[in-house]
């Protein structure tokens, strides 16, 4: 199985409360770049789907990672190569040249060149929080989509049984390949991903880390660069941000000393009981 994983870097999401707004523009200065967590999960998922769990060295497919970003985003791609991805593509662009729609249209053109069986995206980039690229791409390709995947079972390399985390439960669908799948948080639990090549294998919780040797070896793996214009003739954005602002601050609360005091406050001050 050949899998394409779009991978975005984001400003450190654990410090998102440190973003600044200056003259109506977002500034993330001082925040470290990190791979979008959902995309790291997608890489891990792709690796699990293309290996024999009992023998991780034996690859049973190919994982290609792609990012849209400036030169320095290559380090995010190298990290993915070091954990096991086979090749990487960087499409040169800056954040303000992109919206979800351009990313999806460019990915469509890339899919037509690379011909993966599955595109495994994150369900959302945790900076823009848009939750759109996978779905847009699926429609542009005329492919089925399985969004918010919390579990994936590759039954026969022709279809995937996907457990989708939705409001109120899990919807199980079987999608015929090729398809777009976007992954949710629980996909990196120990038994969320299985394939006929490694039935019932139990993985460590979370994503794998690269060994030092692998980091060195990743420097020799192929990383190619493309221009946005190589993929889309019309790079016009469909969305324009006219300005950003900080949210209104919440007024400071108080500490109560006891449970009876809490109940009293809820009753007579907040009047919510």
């Amino acid at each position: 199985m050949k899998i394409l994983v779009p991978l975005k870097r984001v400003a450190d999401p654990d410090n998102a409360n440190k973003v600044k707004v200056n003259a109506g523009k977002i500034e993330t200065t001082g925040l470290e770049w990190k791979p979008n967590p959902f995309d790291e999960y997608a890489v891990e998922t792709a690796l699990r789907l293309t290996e024999n769990g009992a023998n991780p060295k034996a690859r049973l497919g190919e994982v290609v990672v792609v990012t849209f970003g400036p030169k320095e985003t290559e380090s995010t791609l190298r990290q993915a190569l070091a954990t096991g991805a086979d090749k990487a593509i960087r499409i040169d662009a800056t954040d303000d040249q992109l919206d979800g729609d351009v990313v999806a249209r460019a990915l469509k053109a890339l899919v037509e060149k690379e011909k993966p069986d599955v595109v495994l995206a994150g369900k959302q980039a945790v900076d823009g929080d848009s939750n759109q690229v996978g779905q847009l791409l699926a429609e542009y390709l005329g492919w089925p989509q399985a969004t918010f995947a919390g579990s994936i079972k590759s039954e026969d390399d022709k279809s995937l049984l996907v457990g989708r985390e939705v409001d109120g439960g899990t919807i199980n669908v079987r999608v015929g390949l090729p398809a777009v799948v976007s992954v949710d948080l629980r996909i990196v639990a120990p038994t969320s991903v299985s394939s006929k090549h490694s039935p019932a294998h139990k993985y460590p919780e979370g994503v794998r880390f690269a060994a030092l040797m692998a980091i060195m070896a990743a420097k020799k793996k192929p990383l190619t660069e493309m221009k946005l214009a190589d993929l889309v003739s019309d790079a016009a954005l469909k969305i324009t941000y006219t300005g950003f602002e900080l949210p209104p601050a919440r007024k400071a609360g108080i500490k109560v000393a006891s449970v009876p005091e809490l109940v009293e406050k809820l009753k007579s001050e907040a009047k919510v009981l």
Partner: protein, 321 residues
């Protein structure tokens, strides 16, 4: 003045989901006129519920092909109806809405504003407000296409109340099927049966974190029952299996804004705050006085939850007796 098409979402019980009322509020706030499209098996019966909200028309596509929420089956009909003179297509940003809306946008060549929290008409152009960076900033944006698609946050667009009148119901035909839909087989829906209100609609939510361990339900259920509350959870509690995944509140789970929110044994990570900061009154119970949750709590109690929660149930019984 925009002519808006609101997409209603049907629940498995054949009714229109309450979340749809948020998309109706969006349409009212945007100004102009709107119609509602109800699609699904049994849509005709469901449509009768929403003729009193001021829509020009309630359009109905009632077909067994739409029995399950497979968006590849819905998108062609939504797009076909949209082409009858609608400028904006609106869904509520539920999991179904977020699954469907981008597909419709791509079909129409439309721009998409996801998960918006506000809308304003500025000189005939709609300006959408949306949270980014886990709600730590808000962006104002416009779409550069004539036809536009939006998903509206349920927690920010309060449920529309009926406005009287009776919108005429009109049937619409199922559009030609997409080949992509043939490659999706609905296997089933696993949903825990619950008598509790949905997280998106609850007036009170009792949420628990990693600290509750295997006692999650044992400790929280009596409090939730007492208050008629929905139960929520942090990611850590869901990941550990103490609570089902669909209860997760946060940036990447459900975004909620009830009148009263209890965060019990939850530290208050950025991702959790993003999903509940909009609540009217927040109560935090945590044994760590420095837990970040206290920065957003109106009332904080530093205590061991295993003592405090049962005591709270007892005190509430007294107070409301």
């Amino acid at each position: 003045m925009a002519n808006i098409l609101v997409i209603a979402e049907m629940a498995p019980d054949g009714k229109v989901r309450k979340s749809t009322h948020s998309a109706i509020t969006f349409a009212r706030n945007a100004g102009g006129t709107f119609s509602i499209l109800v699609l699904g098996q049994g849509a005709k019966a469901a449509a009768a519920e929403i003729t009193g909200y001021g829509a020009q028309k309630v359009l109905v596509c009632d077909d067994a092909y739409l029995a399950n929420p497979i968006v590849e089956r819905f998108a062609p009909t939504v797009a076909a109806v949209a082409k009858n003179g609608f400028d904006v297509i609106a869904v509520t940003a539920s999991s179904f809405g977020k699954d469907l809306a981008p597909r419709v946008a791509a079909k129409l060549g439309a721009g998409y504003a996801p998960d918006i929290s506000g809308v304003k008409d500025e000189g005939g152009k709609l300006v959408y407000r949306r949270p980014v960076f886990a709600g730590n900033a808000y962006g104002n944006c416009t779409l550069n296409t004539a036809v536009q698609v939006v998903s509206a946050r349920q927690s920010e667009f309060s449920a529309a109340e009926p406005s009287g009148g009776s919108s005429p119901i009109e049937d619409v035909a199922l559009a030609a099927k997409d080949a992509a839909a043939e490659r999706v087989e609905f296997v089933g829906l696993d949903a825990a049966k619950s008598e509790r209100p949905d997280l998106g609609e609850a007036r009170v939510i009792v949420s628990g974190g990693r600290a509750l361990k295997e006692k999650f339900a044992e400790v929280l259920d009596p409090l939730a029952n007492m208050l008629g509350a929905a139960v929520g959870a942090s990611r850590a509690a869901c990941d550990a299996g103490y609570a089902p995944a669909e209860l997760q509140v946060g940036q990447t789970g459900r975004v909620v804004a009830p009148r009263l929110y209890f965060a019990i044994g939850i530290s208050g990570a950025i991702q959790h705050l993003a999903g509940m900061k909009g609540s009217k009154t927040i109560v935090a119970i945590n044994k760590d006085p420095d837990a970040p949750i206290f920065q957003v709590a109106d009332y904080g109690l530093v205590a061991d939850l295993f003592n405090a929660v049962p005591e709270l149930v007892t005190e509430l019984k007294k107070a409301t007796a």
